[in-house]
């Protein structure tokens, strides 16, 4: 997996405990087209507090352009931003 840390647009739902669950996201491709990815499975999730900055990390699985891939999403709590961290 390669580190991207690319901001993405996200549709997510939140559990009663306030935990976000990613459903579907859209990212801009280098050729300015956008790619929509449906999150098929959340394999694992953890919270990190590096530098005191809280982020939720989701390891997910999806079919991207016909290939099943594992990747990591990050949700930065202080800014409410979603990132495609690793793909």
């Amino acid at each position: 997996m390669k580190v991207f840390m690319k901001p993405i647009e996200m549709i997510a739902w939140f559990t009663l405990d306030g935990c976000p669950r990613p459903i579907r996201f859209r990212m801009l491709q280098p050729d300015h087209s956008s790619l929509v990815v449906k999150v098929d499975r959340i394999v694992d999730q953890k919270e990190e507090k590096l530098a005191g900055n809280r982020m939720m990390v989701f390891i997910c699985q999806s079919i991207i352009e016909g290939v099943q891939r594992i990747y990591e999403l990050k949700y930065e709590i202080s800014t409410c931003k979603w990132f495609l961290y690793k793909l």
């Binding site: 580190v3 991207f4 840390m5 990190e48 507090k49 590096l50 530098a51 005191g52 900055n53 982020m55 990132f83 961290y85």
Partner: protein, 418 residues
């Protein structure tokens, strides 16, 4: 509890500003770890805050020192990476570290943004051997927060602080009284806390080069020579120090703000404006602390970095911006020789409480001024420091509220008092 049974930890973040920035960048997907390349945190050169605030260990190998100018640092290492400071991040990292430490002891003193004293006395039943606990704390901070710390363990704050300085980074050291001859005394005398560039040459002249040599001196000789300071450093050299871990901080003796200006101040009018701007923020802090000041002091640094100051007593203690500014301006006019100034500061001391203090027949009634100050403070607190300011700052190019590193929070600054 006898003092000798105390166990004190001193937790010191390794190259604090730099490693915090490095971790933040790694978290945001940066491919380089700033800690592994020659890099420094430095101020903005264009506004002349261009000094090195923190350096990475590879930058240290180029003999770059904290406090030197970015210009000379770049001369030593042409491919140096310079990163501007981000104080809110430092505050956040420091707060998070203290939150972890609070799980281990209720008695914690934030000595500065990156240094913390922790009283670990009688905690063995809960967390086991102090050295093991220190390793656990250090490893937890590294795993959870991503930066490394040094922990010094001893029976008092001074020895714990000396211990945390030994070998960096990511280490735990002990310096118990019985280890002093082996670990503390061989060190060069300037390594000792409170011995700086002014005292070290004085000591060298008398043939004192190591902490051990200082400790072996007769304290009476030192008292005659350096007065009470001599006794203090002799005590420190012998590892004698018994101040408590102050969880509520040191009682404030004074407060002040200063600012390095983007340009040299050459005329009195501009200088007065800068003073007023500094007074605005300082007086606001004074009122926030619910104090009145009895003494005002102004300091000036000219373009050759020569610093001098002048202080004067107010007739009656006050917390009123106008009264403080008037006094500051008087003092400034008395002291200033007309040379270009690069840095100006104001400091208020002899603090007393602001609800009960001496009044005088001979000063103007300040009731109205105090009401005005209170209203202005409230507006600034609610809508930001620029929400309301004096019209004399319009088009002057001078910020109406100067000084301080963070606007919202109280930033713990370093002190010489343990």
């Amino acid at each position: 509890m006898p003092k000798s049974n105390r166990i004190i930890f001193h937790i010191d973040v390794n190259s604090a500003y730099l490693s915090w920035e490095a971790v933040y960048r790694l978290q945001h997907g940066s491919s380089v770890d700033l800690r592994t390349i020659p890099s420094v945190i430095g101020g903005d050169v264009t506004s002349r805050h261009g000094i090195v605030l923190a350096k990475s260990i590879p930058a240290k190998k180029y003999k770059i020192q904290t406090g030197e100018t970015l210009y000379s640092a770049r001369m030593k290492c042409p491919n140096l990476v310079v990163i501007p400071p981000r104080y809110y991040l430092y505050m956040q990292c420091s707060n998070e570290m203290v939150r972890i430490l609070r799980e281990y002891s209720p008695s914690i003193q934030r000595y500065s943004i990156d240094e913390v004293f922790m009283d670990f006395s009688n905690m063995e039943p809960h967390f086991g051997d102090p050295v093991k606990a220190a390793h656990e704390i250090k490893d937890r901070i590294r795993a959870e927060l991503g930066f490394t710390v040094n922990i010094g363990i001893s029976t008092n704050k001074l020895l714990a602080k000396m211990a945390s300085e030994f070998e960096k980074p990511d280490k735990v050291h002990t310096l118990f009284p019985e280890e002093i001859p082996a670990k503390l005394w061989p060190l060069p005398v300037e390594e000792l806390f409170m011995i700086g560039r002014a005292t070290a040459p004085k000591l060298y002249k008398r043939g004192i080069f190591t902490v051990g040599q200082l400790a072996a001196l007769d304290p009476n000789v030192l008292r005659q020579w350096l007065k009470s300071y001599g006794i203090m450093i002799w005590n420190f050299a012998n590892g004698y120090e018994d101040s408590p871990v102050r969880d509520d901080g040191i009682p404030m003796k004074g407060l002040g703000n200063s600012n390095t200006l983007a340009f040299d101040v050459e005329d009195a009018q501009t200088a007065h404006r800068v003073l007023l701007s500094l007074t605005e923020t300082t007086a606001m802090r004074l009122r926030d602390a619910k104090k009145c000041a009895g003494v005002v002091s102004v300091s000036m640094t000219d373009k050759d970095f020569h610093t001098y100051s002048h202080q004067g007593k107010l007739d009656v203690p006050t917390d009123c911006t106008d009264a403080i500014y008037q006094k500051a301006r008087e003092l400034f006019d008395e002291a200033w020789q007309g040379e270009p100034l690069r840095r100006m500061g104001i400091r208020l001391t002899q603090l007393c409480s602001n609800d009960f203090f001496q009044l005088s027949f001979f000063v103007k009634n300040t009731e109205k001024h105090r009401a005005l100050d209170a209203a202005v403070d409230k507006i600034r607190l609610k809508y930001g420091s620029r929400a309301i300011f004096r019209s004399s700052f319009l088009y002057s190019g001078i910020s109406p509220c100067m000084g301080g590193v963070l606007e919202e929070e109280d930033y713990p600054m370093m002190s010489s008092i343990l």
